[in-house]
């Protein structure tokens, strides 16, 4: 189990904390059994393509908190993700009916001279200018490869400014070179919130709030209605939460998460430091995930009866439609490519819908979560069928394209920007799960099943595109084993 130290300003990477890996090929049974003792050997590659880094995940999370400013202490390119984050933020604001506004990510614009002389004063100046411009409720400072390598004293700069600015000034360390697992950036963001925002409970009794870790919250209304039956109210985080809401996360009855990768750190952090229980079942995607998650939450809240009534209603309401969907989807061969929590949960969901998952690739794999256990979603898959083929790779497209070319599935289900494109170019029907609540509970699995039926019904774009375009890979490579560039050495 990793001790979550909220007195210290930095969180260790997933590789160091959770034994996270980015290179593996085998079966889910092997992965699960080796992960138990953190015994999975990570394998490096002798060819690699651009993946992603922690700072994108970190800035994306922090900048979507209401009325904050994120200062990136880096070269201007490290703030380029502000553009995509702005689009994402506006989409979620539309769902939530919030103010139409731009995200606030300000770069300190490190230049060549700064790499020699340092730029702590420039950072301070950026913070002061941004504070004057926006009057935020908090300022987060994210780091970059440059600030990390030249050893900028970020904490010192923030301490110097505290007398001038009466708001939380919080560092978030997310240098790209530190971790191959971009999800380490989620932890950086959550650590910043635990370290610099969350306060001890203001009263002894818990509130009726349940912390709900998610992205943009499209299922918000459904969750509010369901939680009302259990006598609790959700507080969605981090995106669109207010600083005041975040200060009081320590007072909640429990923490739940739509994604095991996303929620592990903050959930366990709140449990270890403030006794707020974190629901550690697999995530509430599809039926079994939802049932286990709801039952576990119900137990903590003492609402077992209400949960069983709710589940029975949901089951009854969706039975017929699910049977129809299963008949249509039965036996379709599918490959999954997602982050580890979504990937392993969605593999189960696809099987609940009657599809045949022939391969599950995840962008990394955490051998254990912060509470010390192998992810429940992984254990569950190993229980169902330990021979399921799995691989782990940090968006190494050459492997995925090679694999899809060999497997020729009916469908490729993904979650990562740009991931669905390549399968489509190969004539394979695809769906990229953009919305984290796509397969949430009973409504979600019906929704997801309908999406898949539609995708399989009309494959015209994939067919036509595939007949017109060429892949950027050599014949030689497509003839090799998909994982032949994974090296045996251990690091």
């Amino acid at each position: 189990m990793s001790e979550i130290d909220i007195k210290h300003n930095q969180v260790p990477t997933r590789e160091n904390r959770l034994g996270a890996i980015t290179g593996y090929v085998g079966t889910i049974g092997e992965l699960n059994s080796q992960a138990g003792g953190c015994g999975v050997q990570n394998r490096e590659r002798c060819f690699s393509q651009a993946s992603a880094c922690a700072s994108g995940c970190c800035q994306g999370q922090l900048s979507s908190i209401q009325n904050v400013v994120v200062i990136n202490h880096g070269a201007i390119g490290c703030a380029a993700d502000a553009v995509a984050t702005n689009v994402n933020k506006k989409s979620g604001a539309r769902i939530r009916g919030l103010e139409y506004s731009n995200v606030r990510i300000v770069s300190s614009n490190l230049l060549e001279r700064d790499t020699v002389f340092g730029a702590v004063d420039k950072l301070k100046d950026t913070i002061l200018q941004a504070a004057k411009r926006y009057h935020p409720d908090a300022i987060f400072v994210t780091t970059s490869c440059v600030s990390g390598i030249i050893g900028e004293d970020i904490q010192g700069a923030l301490e110097d400014l505290k007398p001038q600015l009466d708001i939380p000034l919080v560092p978030a360390f997310c240098e790209g070179f530190r971790s191959k697992v971009w999800a380490s950036g989620f932890d950086s963001a959550f650590h910043a919130v635990l370290f610099g925002i969350v306060e001890p409970p203001r009263q002894v009794e818990k509130t009726n709030k349940v912390n709900f870790v998610n992205f943009r919250g499209s299922a918000r209304n459904e969750i509010i209605r369901t939680f009302k039956k259990l006598g609790v109210e959700p507080v969605f985080l981090l995106q669109y939460a207010t600083i005041e809401e975040l200060k009081r996360l320590s007072e909640a009855r429990a923490t739940v998460s739509i994604c095991g990768t996303l929620g592990s750190y903050i959930g366990n952090g709140l449990e270890q430091n403030y006794g707020v229980p974190y629901i550690k079942t697999e995530q509430p995607h599809g039926i079994q995930g939802y049932i286990n998650w709801m039952r576990n939450l119900g137990t903590f809240l003492g609402k077992e009866k209400e949960v069983e009534e709710h589940l029975a209603e949901e089951e009854e309401r969706t039975r017929e439609e699910l049977a129809e969907l299963r008949a249509k989807l039965k036996g379709k061969r599918v490959v999954v490519g997602m982050g580890p929590s979504f990937g392993h949960n969605y593999t189960r969901v696809l099987e609940e819908l009657g599809l045949d998952v022939v391969w599950t690739a995840t962008w990394h794999f955490d051998q254990n979560y912060d509470h010390g256990d192998v992810p429940e979603s992984t254990k569950r898959l190993a229980e169902i069928d330990d021979s399921l083929k799995v691989s782990v790779g940090d968006q190494q497209n050459y492997e995925i394209v090679n694999l899809l070319n060999k497997l020729q599935p009916d469908l490729y289900v993904t979650r990562h920007g740009g991931s669905s494109v390549w399968a489509t170019k190969m004539g394979i029907a695809t769906h990229m799960v953009v919305d984290e609540f796509t397969a949430f509970g009973y409504n979600g699995i019906v929704n997801f099943g309908n999406i898949l039926v539609d995708k399989l019904t009309n494959r015209a774009l994939a067919k036509r595109l595939a007949s017109r375009i060429q892949l950027p890979y050599s014949e030689w490579w497509l003839g090799q084993d998909s994982f032949s560039f994974l090296q045996e050495e251990v690091f």
């Binding site: 390119g77 553009v83 506004s101 494109v421 950027p472």
Partner: protein, 446 residues
């Protein structure tokens, strides 16, 4: 007299990015068909840069070999301590095997440039066998406009060979920065069409169906045509130095009949084209253009809530080109104009001269700053007497609501539009722009 508020000082913060860092030059490589960058950089650089310059900018996705296809050494902690030239060598070797591409440009990021990896030494090992060049593009060097220039410099110096002879009438066109300008493919097509219309043979390295054969033709051109206030000046000077090719520098991207007429006359005269031929081409195109403007006159003159004044927030190329068009062809009046491309301080004065006489005796005040937040504060403080027309980026959409203006996204980031092969250049481009502006106005209250 226009005044520049020059604040390109060392302590320049940047809020609301409108360009990216030097490594953004990777997209200029991808704009050359069958060429690909190999990044010696951190794991997230590529994704951030192509996201901002590509996907979220007119919906320019990965295409043939962009996005996560781009090879990268994905720098780790070990690499920044011990260096990573061996890793780079392995990635390059395997890139040749795995990928089906013809031309490679190794680009470094901040990590490699600070650590001091000798990338040139690694790349030189391959230059006899492969078409491969390299440039140091660590993000802290500045903007992707500079990155674009560094990519061109590397290709010119390390790859291009002198041509046995110049080809009469062959003209290389250098203009907007690919991807940064979401309309770039249309821009190069339209400029090529204009040259062709007066009997010249355009040569462009960027865009579909051009690629390495076009690149190989560059030293054989009769002259280089630079259509840009400052970006690309280094490249045409370097081509003059290396291959003795003279260049014509035309600062303003021609949008609409007034500037396009001037453009054709200037280029034609430089190339020795018969003036009668040029005038015939201009007359035919103006006929077409004014047919539609005449037909739309009611909309242009009598629509409710028309703007009288305009504000452009864009790079130097578009701020100048759009200002000229709106003044000369739509009779609008400039507010202060904003140039957000981090124009180098020593080039700002030259850029500014173009705003002294936009046409019709009008000049414009110009603010150079890469800080979008500062631009927006300045616009908020402006007193508007009619609903302003704001041609900027998708960042301006929120601002336009606040100041009750019309926003049309034309400059990076253009995340709210999908752009294929259209552009605002030339006569047809002018018509497209009038359509887009007045469609925005008409749709606003309906």
């Amino acid at each position: 007299m226009p005044t520049a508020q020059n604040i390109s000082n060392h302590n320049q913060i940047i809020d609301q990015v409108r360009h990216v860092c030097t490594l953004g030059g990777l997209q200029s490589v991808l704009a050359i068909e069958r060429a690909i960058p190999i990044l010696h950089a951190g794991p997230g650089c590529g994704q951030k840069l192509w996201g901002a310059l590509g996907l979220q900018n007119g919906g320019q996705g990965s295409g043939y070999a962009g996005g996560h296809t781009v090879p990268c050494t994905n720098a780790t902690e070990k690499d920044v301590i011990f260096g990573a030239t061996d890793k780079l060598r392995t990635v390059i070797e395997n890139a040749f095997k795995v990928l089906d591409l013809d031309f490679y440009v190794v680009l470094t990021g901040c990590t490699s440039d600070i650590v001091g990896d000798d990338v040139g030494e690694v790349v030189r090992e391959f230059q006899n066998e492969h078409k491969i060049v390299w440039a140091e593009t660590g993000g802290f060097k500045g903007s992707n406009f500079l990155g674009h220039e560094l990519v061109l410099e590397a290709i010119i110096d390390q790859y291009l060979k002198p041509a046995p002879e110049k080809i009469k009438g062959l003209v290389n066109i250098w203009a907007v920065v690919p991807y940064q300008d979401p309309f770039w493919t249309g821009v190069y097509d339209e400029l090529s069409g204009l040259l062709r219309s007066i009997g010249l043979t355009p040569n462009v390295i960027f865009g579909p169906h051009r690629g390495i054969p076009a690149l190989d033709l560059v030293p054989a051109a009769e002259f280089n045509l630079l259509v840009s206030p400052w970006v690309g000046l280094k490249a045409v000077k370097q081509l003059e130095e290396n291959f003795g090719t003279p260049f014509l520098h035309y600062p303003s991207l021609p949008i609409g009949p007034t500037e396009t007429g001037k453009f054709l006359r200037t280029v034609g005269e430089y190339a020795g084209v018969d003036p009668k031929k040029i005038e015939a081409v201009i007359a035919e195109n103006e006929d077409h253009y004014y047919h539609y403007i005449e037909r739309a006159a009611e909309v242009l003159l009598e629509t409710r809530f028309l703007p009288r004044r305009f504000t452009v927030v864009a790079d130097a190329t578009y701020t100048l080109a759009l200002s000229k068009f709106l003044v000369n062809d739509l009779a609008l009046i400039p507010n202060r104009q904003y140039i957000v491309d981090a124009t180098p301080a020593d080039l700002q004065e030259e850029v500014l001269k173009n705003f002294q006489d936009l046409g019709e005796g009008l000049s414009a005040d110009v603010l150079f700053t890469p800080d979008g937040g500062e631009v927006q504060e300045d616009i908020r403080a402006t007193k508007f007497r009619s609903r302003p027309l704001i041609l900027g980026s998708s960042w301006e959409r929120v601002l336009a609501k606040e100041v009750n203006g019309y926003a049309l996204s034309v400059s990076m980031p253009v995340s709210d539009r999908l752009v294929f092969d259209r552009s605002y250049v030339g006569y047809t481009g002018g018509l497209r722009l009038v359509e887009d502006i007045y469609s925005t106005i008409l749709a606003d209250f309906q």
